[in-house]
């Protein structure tokens, strides 16, 4: 059984992959507040988003259907963190 601390560590590791992906897409990622809007700031644009969804699928192991996902869940790092980890603590 996975303990809460294991789960938190897994989420942190997953978020490192997410941040690394965004960093490669845009240098400004490191200076981001985790509540800033990734789409509005064009850190994630329509082209990068397709690959970003594949990354999330890779991380979570669950298929992501781009046709049914809610973009609102991907707008900030905190929301992505919450989505990946269930109940994530804010940064």
């Amino acid at each position: 059984m996975t303990s809460a601390s294991d789960k938190a560590a897994e989420t942190d590791e997953a978020m490192e992959k997410v941040v690394d992906f965004l960093r490669r897409a845009n240098d400004a990622t490191d200076a981001l507040d985790w509540d800033q809007d990734l789409i509005e700031l064009r850190i994630l644009d329509s082209l990068a988003f397709v690959e970003f969804l594949v990354l999330l699928e890779e991380i979570t192991g669950a298929p992501v259907d781009p046709g049914t996902i809610d973009v609102e869940n991907f707008r900030t790092l905190n929301r992505i963190h919450a989505m990946i980890g269930g109940a994530g603590s804010d940064r």
Binding site: A25, D45, S46, A48, P66
Partner: protein
């Protein structure tokens, strides 16, 4: 809107289209089956080639089948975008000089879309869905939108032609596949020549109309380069990797996509269109310099 030189080119391309016209629905002799133990794609054109990540020939042959489906599906979806773009513009004042050739262009693209889809439905259970982004598009304004649409079309045509021209001559793949690649390559040489001419014209027109100046041009350059990266990634289909039955499909896909051998190959595939963008003044620097598809 075009000068005498491009007028002559359009007349020549239209004449060639009339001369080379064929009925796509009777052009091919479709076999009952395409053997699964054959290579549907020459191994050197598989996206894992040169990485050493997959050695099992059974899986590589399955990947060849699924990458063929992906490749043809990308054609189908790319052609849809192209046909929408051209249909929206044909017989409008800005494209008046292109009307005659655009009719041939649409007719030929319609034929291509049919035979690529037909192969997938006949032998492989259908096409893969389009990679869809839930995030809204670019919004560069009408004049730049023309540039962006036709730049995207040119990029996908050039990528596909790289493979079509080679696989159309490959003795290793089944005859029906070789023929599809060869027929497409034959038609696309005209379309690429036309696309380059049109894009240069549209770019000059957008620069003239636009008040934003060099910043906007840089923004367009960056967008087109991102689209080139996106196009390279689209060759590494998550569906194809999974459906090939390989273990850790998505991890292997990412490792292949970012492998140094593959990065060199991406530059090779893109070299011709990259050179065009630089020579046309649309790029200040080539995409191939420091391209990184993991970005």
């Amino acid at each position: 809107m075009n000068d005498a030189g491009s007028g002559a080119m359009l007349a020549r391309l239209s004449e060639k289209s009339r001369h080379d016209h064929y009925n796509p629905y009777t052009r091919f002799s479709w076999p009952d089956t395409v053997p699964e133990d054959s290579w549907w794609m020459t191994p050197e054109y598989l996206t894992t080639h040169g990485t050493g990540l997959v050695e099992d020939e059974r899986i590589l042959k399955a990947l060849a089948r699924r990458e063929t489906v992906n490749f043809f599906s990308l054609h189908v979806h790319g052609i849809r975008e192209l046909m929408i773009g051209v249909s929206q513009r044909i017989h409008t004042p800005d494209f008046a000089d292109y009307n005659e050739y655009l009719h041939h262009f649409l007719g030929e693209e319609n034929a291509h879309m049919w035979f690529f889809a037909e192969f997938c439905y006949r032998y492989a259970g259908g096409i893969y869905p389009e990679a869809y982004s839930p995030v809204r598009g670019e919004g560069f304004g009408p004049a730049w939108e023309d540039v962006v649409v036709f730049a995207r079309i040119l990029i996908f045509e050039e990528i596909f032609d790289y493979f079509n021209s080679r696989l159309g001559k490959s003795a290793e793949i089944p005859a029906i596949l070789r023929e599809i690649h060869a027929v497409h390559h034959h038609d696309e040489s005209r379309h690429v020549a036309f696309g380059k001419q049109l894009l240069k014209h549209l770019y000059a027109r957008a620069c003239e109309q636009d008040q934003a100046g060099p910043e906007r041009r840089l923004e367009i350059e960056n967008y087109i380069k991102s689209y080139m990266t996106y196009s390279v990634r689209s060759l590494y289909s998550p569906h194809a990797y999974r459906d090939s039955g390989m273990p850790k499909a998505l991890e292997t896909r990412r490792a292949a996509m970012t492998h140094p051998v593959r990065e060199a190959f991406h530059s090779k595939v893109m070299a011709r269109v990259d050179r065009f963008f630089v020579a046309a003044g649309i790029f200040q620097t080539a995409w191939g310099v420091g391209n990184d598809v993991s970005k």
